[in-house]
């Protein structure tokens, strides 16, 4: 399985050097990558359908418990088939859709990266590896949403999607780490055994919260739903692939994967039911007001994801069977509808359903595909969607007595909205009379309409032979989510019962709504007025607030004046050190313990004071710098008196070079003019004196500390024995702490490179703006 993940990653990076090559007719090679992967997973279907799990283990960072553990069970297989199968269609479709585009190679590099990452998410048997792939999908999605990088709206949407899913990723990581630490393992298949331990742990509510936020942000659940409609700025193949069929389902996948680990509790069920239930009805209503084809599909996708979350929350065996089927149902019809939308947009250059009419006359095969998908989405009998909807109703009806009626009502209302949305996106553009402006519209390349056609036909075929599909694809999926045996009983005909009545009622109501109400610009604008209280608006305001705080911080604290930095750093050090000293009580000075001062020490003190007076009083920068180096040399002399020749030598040379450096820089400055007010030097004097006093006090206090010589004794004794050196200082530098020295030289080199590149960098006048 590792190779299926790596193939895409490697090909993706190969597209960097071979981009030009792949833009030619050889681009036909690209779709065969998902084809091969799809066949590989299809070949595994019979094995997995028997209930066998295929496991692969590859050590990566074993010391941290991060390994390439892959595991193929029913749930993983269903997703892997969707990813590679729909991926195949999208690759053929996208090749024609973006024919001749400047960034054709880049597009497929991102798409391949995404496909690999998504396969990694669903195949990982290790929650940390899962997380890494999870973030990779967010990143590839960011690049694909912002693919039209010259459009500001695209860039904003990409950033919005990345911030929401990235934020969710943080929460998810925290949740995963907590889970792993409590259970003592990061391997998913081992976590199943820790279910009882996890739900009994006091941190359980926190874990559920964190993991749910991760999943809800990814799967666009309320209140994080708004990034998904924004993500429709991406080219349509991307919307079809990432933002309806696969990536947004990663959140649902995660919840499904964690159901046997964290589920079967009231907290888990009620959280998912409330969030999913609200999202599905909220988005279904929203989709009715959209006039943009992609907008309709985006909101109906959010609604469908809500249904899946909601069903996972319901959590009964019936509900889980419904989840396993509805994932497939939705992927088939929604990818088709998106691809059809892409064709319409590509050929007519508009997606406004108030303008689109009668296109069936010019693109009949597209209409057939679209119609079949719309019928499946509406749940017309003999389609796969019909079976999916039946199972949803069955799940809600069989829930606890007094809840069943409300849940069913909610599901029916949502589905009415989805029926209407499906018809509007799938049938409306093709119905009616063909306007004059669309007469020239032609049928696109075969590679663009055949993939949606295949998916749409599958939606019908699966509906006709539900028993086979259920046995091979959905049964083990449901078992994997439920963590036990489920009853998979997909049938074309259930007989006349309440479920069928509800199904027909939904269909009738949806069709009635389709004819009764037409979305217009005015209604959309009326809805926009409520945006002030929408979560999107609130998130944007939070973003603006953060920006304001950051700019305030940058301007006041981080203002770019070296003197201001110095003042703040020293003041802060004074506060910390002063506080610590104050805690330690009064400092006593034991004069008897100090060595008597000699006459040359007095001499040096006099020179020091003189130099200091010069620095403060002089009006010449050069005098000040030279006086500073006089102080440095005096300190060197101190080192010499107290027998530290190494230190003295280094200090001496460094002081010399610093002075040279100062002179070189000061030489280029204009003459010194004093702009500061009288108060500033006084303030600086107080800070400086305070720092001096504190350092002196610390030095005096050190005399009272118990004198531990264990470390210096060790170095003294072992320098020659272990490192064959007699100069302990040097031995420490080049041997005992050699690694430190090594990295210090690296730091020095970086500093030099920094100075070099800053001063040598000459922007061309065109680049300066």
């Amino acid at each position: 399985m590792l190779f299926t993940v790596l193939t895409g990653l490697i090909t993706s990076s190969l597209l960097v050097p071979f981009g030009k090559f792949i833009k030619t007719k050889w681009s036909i090679l690209l779709p065969f990558i998902p084809v091969i992967l799809f066949l590989f997973y299809l070949w595994h279907v019979p094995v997995v359908a028997n209930g066998t799990n295929i496991v692969q283990h590859l050590a990566w960072v074993p010391s941290l418990g991060i390994n390439f553990d892959f595991r193929l069970d029913g749930l993983s297989l269903l997703f892997a088939l969707l990813i590679t199968g729909i991926g195949t269609g999208i690759f053929f479709y996208g090749r024609s859709y973006l024919k001749g585009h400047v960034y054709f190679d880049r597009f497929f590099a991102y798409l391949l990266l995404f496909m690999s990452a998504m396969l990694g998410v669903v195949l990982s048997n290790n929650i940390l590896t899962l997380f890494i792939f999870w973030e990779l999908t967010s990143i590839s999605s960011f690049f694909l949403i912002g693919f039209n990088n010259d459009s500001k709206a695209s860039r904003n949407s990409a950033l919005m999607a990345l911030s929401i899913t990235g934020m969710g990723g943080f929460f998810l990581l925290a949740g995963l780490i907590l889970t792993g630490n409590i259970a003592g393992t990061f391997v998913i298949s081992e976590l199943f055994a820790h279910h009882d331990q996890l739900i009994a742990h006091p941190l359980y509510p926190l874990i559920v919260g964190l993991i749910c936020i991760g999943a809800f942000t990814k799967s666009a659940q309320f209140p994080f739903h708004f990034w998904l409609p924004g993500a429709m700025k991406a080219p349509t193949p991307v919307s079809a692939y990432l933002h309806s069929a696969t990536m947004v389902k990663a959140g649902v996948y995660l919840l499904a994967r964690f159901t046997p680990i964290l589920g079967n509790t009231e907290l888990w069920g009620i959280t998912l039911m409330i969030v999913g239930g609200f999202t599905m009805i909220f988005a279904a209503v929203h989709s009715l007001f959209r006039t943009d084809l992609k907008g309709i599909l985006a909101y109906s996708t959010v609604s469908a994801l809500g249904i899946l979350t909601f069903l996972l929350g319901v959590g009964t065996k019936d509900a889980i069977v419904a989840v396993s089927v509805f994932i497939l149902v939705h992927a088939l019809y929604k990818a088709t509808l998106f691809m059809v939308t892409g064709i319409i947009d590509h050929e007519t250059h508009t997606r406004d359903i108030t303008k689109l009419k009668g296109l069936r006359k010019v693109m009949m095969p597209v209409f057939i595909a679209s119609l079949l998908a719309a019928l499946s989405s509406a749940g017309v009998p003999a389609t796969f969607g019909f079976i999916g909807k039946d199972l949803i109703y069955e799940a809600t009806l069989n829930f606890k007595e007094n809840w069943a009626i409300w849940l069913t009502a909610l599901a029916v209302l949502t589905n009415i909205g989805l029926v209407t949305a499906g018809f509007r996106a799938g049938i409306k553009p093709f119905a009616g009379k063909l306007p004059e402006e669309f007469r020239h519209v032609r049928l696109p390349y075969k590679s663009m309409w055949i993939p949606p056609m295949i998916l749409a036909v599958l939606g019908i075929l699966f509906g006709l032979f539900p028993g086979v599909v259920g046995a091979y694809f959905n049964h083990q999926t449901a078992n994997a989510i439920a963590g036990g045996e489920t009853d998979m009983h997909l049938q074309l005909w259930h007989g006349f019962n309440i479920v069928l009545t509800l199904s027909v009622a939904t269909l009738a109501a949806g069709i009635a709504l389709y004819f009764a109400n037409n979305p217009t610009e005015e209604k959309l604008l009326a809805l926009e007025r409520f945006n002030v209280i929408s979560s999107q608006h609130i998130f944007r305001r939070i973003g603006n607030g953060i920006e304001k705080v950051a700019s305030w911080y940058t301007n006041t604290i981080h203002n770019g004046y070296l003197r201001s930095y110095h003042l703040k750093i020293i003041l802060f050090a004074e506060l910390l050190l002063g506080y610590k000293l104050w805690l330690g009580g009064p400092v006593r000075i034991d004069y008897a313990n100090l060595t008597p001062l000699s006459w040359y020490e007095f001499g040096i003190a006099a020179i020091l004071l003189g130099a200091m007076y010069l620095i403060v009083s002089t009006k010449s920068r050069l005098t000040a710098v030279v006086s500073t180096s006089v102080i440095g040399y005096c300190i060197c002399l101190m080192f010499v008196f107290y027998s530290a020749p190494d230190l003295a030598m280094t200090q001496f040379t460094i002081d010399t070079l610093t002075t040279v450096l100062f002179v070189l820089v000061l030489y280029k400055l204009p003459p010194f003019i004093n702009f500061t007010s009288r108060g500033v030097p006084i303030r600086d004097a107080i800070v400086a004196l305070g720092f001096g006093v504190i350092i002196s006090l610390i030095a005096l206090r050190v005399l009272y500390e118990p004198n531990s010589t264990a470390i210096s004794d060790f170095y003294g004794e072992n320098a020659y024995l272990l490192a064959k050196g007699k100069n302990v200082v040097n031995v420490i530098l080049v041997d005992f702490r050699g690694m430190d020295t090594m990295f210090e030289t690296v730091v020095l080199s970086i500093a030099a490179l920094g100075v070099y590149s800053l001063l040598k960098l000459r922007l061309k006048s065109s680049e300066k703006e």
Partner: protein
């Protein structure tokens, strides 16, 4: 700053100071000195020369950009750190010749490490100073 005295003096001071810096480098393991101080003294020698004769002339003596000394130095240190790996020893293990070499004294991996530091220090100091001096 054109001074005949300084120019004449640096002509002799440059080789002497360089020799002294190398002396400091070699004796570092036994007496005060070492790669860091040695490198600083060598840089001071070149800085003095550039003060007397102009930075352009010093660059001519150096032939190569001081920047190129940095990777050479880093590589020398890195090799001396990883060299023991070839013998199956952990990195940074001190390896020494059995007998001292005349004039130079004991030679071991620590010396090469110090030579690396020496070269990096010269490279860093001269890069920073000369870049600023030549920048206008």
């Amino acid at each position: 700053m054109k001074s005949a005295i300084l120019q004449t003096a640096t002509r002799y001071l440059l080789p002497i100071l360089l020799l002294f810096s190398f002396f400091l480098l070699l004796r570092g393991h036994y007496y005060p000195g070492g790669g860091f101080v040695g490198g600083l003294v060598a840089s001071i020698a070149f800085v003095l020369h550039s003060f007397a004769n102009g930075t352009e002339n010093t660059m001519k003596i150096l032939r190569y950009k001081p920047l190129s000394l940095i990777p050479i130095g880093l590589a020398t240190s890195a090799v001396s750190v990883t060299f023991p790996l070839l013998f199956g020893l952990p990195p940074m293990t001190g390896l020494w010749f059995e007998e001292p070499i005349p004039v130079i004294g004991m030679i071991g991996s620590a010396l090469f490490f110090d030579i690396g530091v020496y070269l990096v220090v010269i490279g860093v100091v001269l890069t920073i100073l000369f870049t600023i001096a030549l920048n206008d």
